[in-house]
Amino acid sequence: MSLIDAESYMHALNEDPEFLIAARFWNAKLKFGMGETRYMVTLADGTVTGIDPSPGLMEDWDFDFVVTGPLEEWEKLLEPVPRPFYQALLPAVLLGGLDFGGDFETFCAYYRAFSRMVEVMRSHRVTAS
């Protein structure tokens, strides 16, 4: 089960004025592990240039920052009005069941960009048919 449509999510981010400000100058590869599904997000100079919904084994290891967790935890994060401590990525890691890792300096420098990615994901999540 997928919670996002990679193509529409990428367009939504690249058309989001707040994300574009927060992500300025950002060159990075981010990995989102949502249950069994992996997404590799590539950014170049502050723009999302690709979201690969099925990265191969070698690409799967090549990232600057990773956020992973069971699908149920991502669903809590992406609720329209999230429950306490799932309003953003950081509390969902500190007090919830998501995990992150990688270059923490990048995480701090682009903290708002990460938060905005979650907010855009929340408003563009795929609902079960």
Partner: protein
């Protein structure tokens, strides 16, 4: 015709531990003196909505101040503060507020603070019980060990990081404009101030084994915490309240770490019953 705000801003000179501080405060209202303490790295603007509330201003003389290094209150005169790392200490903060209160001529005012100000509420009740008639702690706990503070003041991370964390500490349904204003005030802190102020909040403040010595017959204690505050979850405040016999604890539903600025309209519904009780003390 010009439209003026009801708030008046002033400066006062205070001597604390042999150093002179030029301190900014904003005031409005008349009645029982009520000192209002901001959060780490921010300033008295967080209280601006309460300050102009006519129902509160009609019964309280509200004083919202900037502690040194914050807002418009500069570092001390005659001291090479630029050659040392800023670290707010518990001893200084308590002395500062008591000195301000005395210099303003107050006798047993009420005190209300959030975050570092919330931690200060029970500390004042424990160490200066004769100085205040009531303390209101918003987002208080026995202790709150923080995030890895290295990143809060780092040459490669700008201070936008601190205000962006503040945004995520608020309730998702609080008004967007109020949340952004709260973050704006945060983003204006000098780079080292948030980390320095959290020295008190995350390192020095610790009421484990002490909170039960607070005597609420001398100073009333009210504790309120936002449901979404992940830096001080309500459960931690409840544990503190359980240790302070006679204190009252309230969860502020839907809000996070900055109730008075992130949703002042809904905050008033929670704080008015507390203020009504303080008027009766």
């Amino acid at each position: 015709m010009a439209r003026f705000d009801d708030i008046t801003g002033r400066y006062i000179y205070l001597d604390v531990d042999g150093l002179e501080y030029r301190v900014y405060f904003e005031e409005n209202g008349s009645g029982v003196p009520l000192l209002l303490q901001h959060t780490a790295g921010s300033d008295c603007r967080l209280w601006r909505h309460l300050l102009v509330d006519p129902e509160v201003a009609g019964r309280f003389q509200m004083i919202a101040y900037d502690i040194p290094y914050h807002g418009k209150s500069l570092p001390p005169a005659g001291h090479k503060w630029w050659a040392e790392e800023y670290k707010l200490t518990q001893d200084f903060l308590m002395k500062f507020v008591v000195t301000l209160s005395r210099e303003l001529g107050f006798e047993r005012p009420a005190y209300m603070g959030c975050s570092i100000g919330g931690q200060l509420a029970p500390d004042l009740a424990l160490y200066y019980p004769d100085e205040f008639r009531a303390v209101v702690g918003i987002e208080s706990a026995h202790f709150t060990p923080g995030l890895n503070q290295r990143w809060l003041y780092h040459p490669r991370i700008n201070s936008e990081f601190n205000s962006n964390i503040a945004y995520d500490m608020m309730g998702p349904a609080s008004p967007e404009e109020r949340k952004r204003e709260t973050c704006w005030c945060y983003s204006q802190a000098a780079p080292q101030v948030v980390k320095g102020a959290l020295n008190y909040h995350c390192v020095e403040h610790n009421l484990v084994g002490k909170a039960d010595r607070i005597d609420t017959s001398k100073v009333a204690v009210y504790l309120l915490t936002g449901e979404y505050d992940f830096s001080c979850p309500p459960m931690l405040t409840e544990l503190l309240a359980n240790d302070i016999k006679g204190s009252r604890f309230t969860v502020i539903e839907g809000m996070g770490h900055f109730p008075m600025s992130e949703d002042p309209v809904r905050f008033k519904k929670y704080i008015m019953p507390v203020l009504e009780e303080i008027l009766e003390l």
